[in-house]
Each structure stands twice: as structure tokens, then as C-alpha cells.
């Protein structure tokens, strides 16, 4: 399992390299970008993350950590 696809999507939307400390706010994203992020999470980790917890992440690092901990707990 790898966060590469997720970082690819973050890079595409943010327009910057998604280092862990980079700020994100997925609640303000275009709906299709959110769907593509969900698909990337599913493809990479075979999990779904509750949307409200996704939107609560404030940095790319928080998002990746949320996904990994969800995958470990599933």
C-alpha cells in the first residue's frame, strides 16, 4: 500500500508538492476532485474514509495519517 496516488491527487488540486505540512481544505474542493480523491484512497488502501473526517484534515500529513490509520483498523 502506498500514498503515491493520493499525493498525486493532492498535487493536482493544490498545484504544489504535497509535503506533510502543506495545508489542505477538501471541503472547498470541486466535487469531482473529492470523488477522485476517494477513488485514489480506495485504490491505494482498499478503505473508505468518512467524508466529515476527510474534510476535517488540515494538512496533507493529517490526511495521509487518517487514511493509514483507517486501513490499519479495518
Amino acid at each position: 500500500m502506498s500514498a503515491d496516488r493520493i499525493r498525486d491527487k493532492l498535487r493536482e488540486v493544490l498545484g504544489v508538492e504535497p509535503e506533510d505540512t502543506v495545508s489542505i481544505d477538501t471541503s472547498g474542493w470541486d466535487s469531482v476532485d473529492v470523488l477522485e480523491l476517494i477513488a485514489a484512497i480506495d485504490e491505494s488502501y482498499d478503505v473508505t474514509v468518512p467524508i466529515d473526517r476527510l474534510h476535517a484534515c488540515r494538512t496533507a500529513g493529517e490526511l495521509i495519517q487518517l487514511i493509514r490509520s483507517t486501513a490499519e483498523g479495518s
Binding site: 466535487s31 469531482v32 470523488l35 476517494i38 477513488a39 480506495d42 485504490e43 473508505t48 467524508i51
Partner: protein, 343 residues
Amino acid sequence: MRHAGIRTIRYHLPEGVLTNEQLASPEWPAEKILAKTGILERRVASAEQCASDLGVAAAQALFAEGLCEPSEIDFLLFCTQSPDYFLPTTACLVQERLGLRTDCGALDFNQGCSGFVYGLALAKSLIESLGLRTVLLITAETYSKFIHPRDRSARTIFGDGAAATLIGAAESDHPLLGPFVFGTDGRGALNLMVPAGGMRQPASEQTARVTNDSGGNERSLNNLYMNGPEIFNFTLKTVPVAVDALLSRAGLERDEVDYYVLHQANRFMLERLRDKMKIDPDRFSLELEDCGNTVSSTIPIALARAQNQGRIDEGSQVMCVGFGVGYSWAAGMVTLPAKGVFS
């Protein structure tokens, strides 16, 4: 042995067309809409056209085929979430317009994306358990009437349309419909709904107030609301499990199913599901480019087109999977019958 099977399917799309060019904006050009949704255009009922009109047109096309007279219908199942009236039952209106017998049973059932598969299961039960001979299953939807004209997200996805499916009693060594799996999870109810206008929250001046969402889409409580990300999460979790459960119940391996017809929600979701479940693209229906998401009619429309295109034929084992609003889901096996098996 006597088994229920699908004899034929006909469908009707209204004349009104909503193209990607009409929906396009600087942020969402027509090409992007097609690329992301798989939809070029969708059909829209006129102000005067209701679900019964679309359903009657589909059924009349079916009767025109000559396989069956209206007088042979023993039961009418009408699936819609946009009935002509709160009451009476829309199926009663359709009975009269189609000239069905007055000793024909008729009822509406309120289901969306899972409605066709639920309808097949009901029809099978009516024929095999109650001994009826011929059931007409009509799915008919006019979601456009719920959607705010400036809600681009919902307008892009949904189209109006109806399908009429004739299900009859056949002599067959094996079942032609089923097995089935069903599912319901009301925790997802709020993610695809029309909040006001029913009994829980009647329409009012207050519910008609329009607000903007973060994507710039406008709607009131009287309009359709859809939480796309939540629904996508639901389908990713639920559909593969339902498919596996049905394969197990049917005693089939994945590649022993000749064709998969999932509810045609949008292309992006379908392609993700197809890849996740490792289904051969040649055995997977993608049939929404010219009509969009017609809710309970997507599966019968896709089935009819697959048969017309020669993708499925007599003896083909097809898995139909409906999922969405409710949340509700149902999956069922359909074996296309050979000619001459229907009495």
C-alpha cells in the same frame, strides 16, 4: 418446471434534451462534463409530462411488438419516486390508459436506483408463488422535476425516462430470474433526498427559499439534494460485497457471469467499481452517454441495448445490480430465456 423470465424490454425517453453545452461553464466546459460523467446529453420531461406518460409510452412500444396483448397482463408493478399524484396510485391510472383488465392487480412501489431489481424479484414471486402468468414491470422517473434549474451537479447526472419489462411464466429446467440479494441502510437516507414536500415537512414559503452550496449550486428544501462523496463511499463499500454475496448464492465464479449490468449512476463511479471488482470491461455495461442516470430505468435500458447490440443472447447469465437512494440495493441474476419457452 415453471419459472418466471424476462420476455422483452422496451423503453421511452422524452423528447426534451439537455446537452453538455447547455450546462457548461468556464470552470466546467462541455468536454470536461463528458470526461468526468460519461454523459453527453440527458432527456428531460416537459412540464406536462409525468412518470405515467413516460411509462405508458414504454408499455405501448412493448405491446406494439406483438408479443403480448394488454388483456394478458395479470399484474402491473409501477416503480417511481415521482408519482403523478400522492393518491391515487399511479399504477391505477396506467391500468386505465393501457386498457388492462379490471381484474388485473396494480400497485406502485417507491424505489429508486434499486427499483428494477426489486421489481424483478416481486414479479418472480407473483408468477412462481401465486401462479400468475404475465407481469408488466414499469420503471418511470422524472427526477428533473425535483432538481433546481441552477443545481448544475444534479442536472448534469440525472435524466428522465421509463422502461417496460414483460415478465412471463416459462417452461425451463432452471430458474431464469434469481437468486437475489437485497440490502437497506437508512443511515444514508439524508444523502439523496427531497427534504420538503412530503408529509414530514410540507412545502412552504420557507422551504422554497433557495441557498447556495459550496460549489455554487442552488437549491431549496423542495429540490433534490445529493451528497456525491458520501454516496460514492457507500457504493465502494457495498456493491462489491453484494456482488460477492450473489456470486456465492448462485454458485458462480466472477468470470462465469457473461455480463454485468450495474445501475448507470455515472461513468467515473462505474469504472472504479469495475476495476475494483476486476471485471472484464467487455463484460461490463456502460450505457449512459445519451440518457444520463434514469434512476430505476438504467438497468432495463442497458439490458435492452446489450441484447440489441448482441452483447447478450439466449442463455446469457447477466448480473443486475441496483444501488443508491435510501440507501437501498439489490442484485439479481437474469438468464435470458430461449425463444418458445413462454406459454
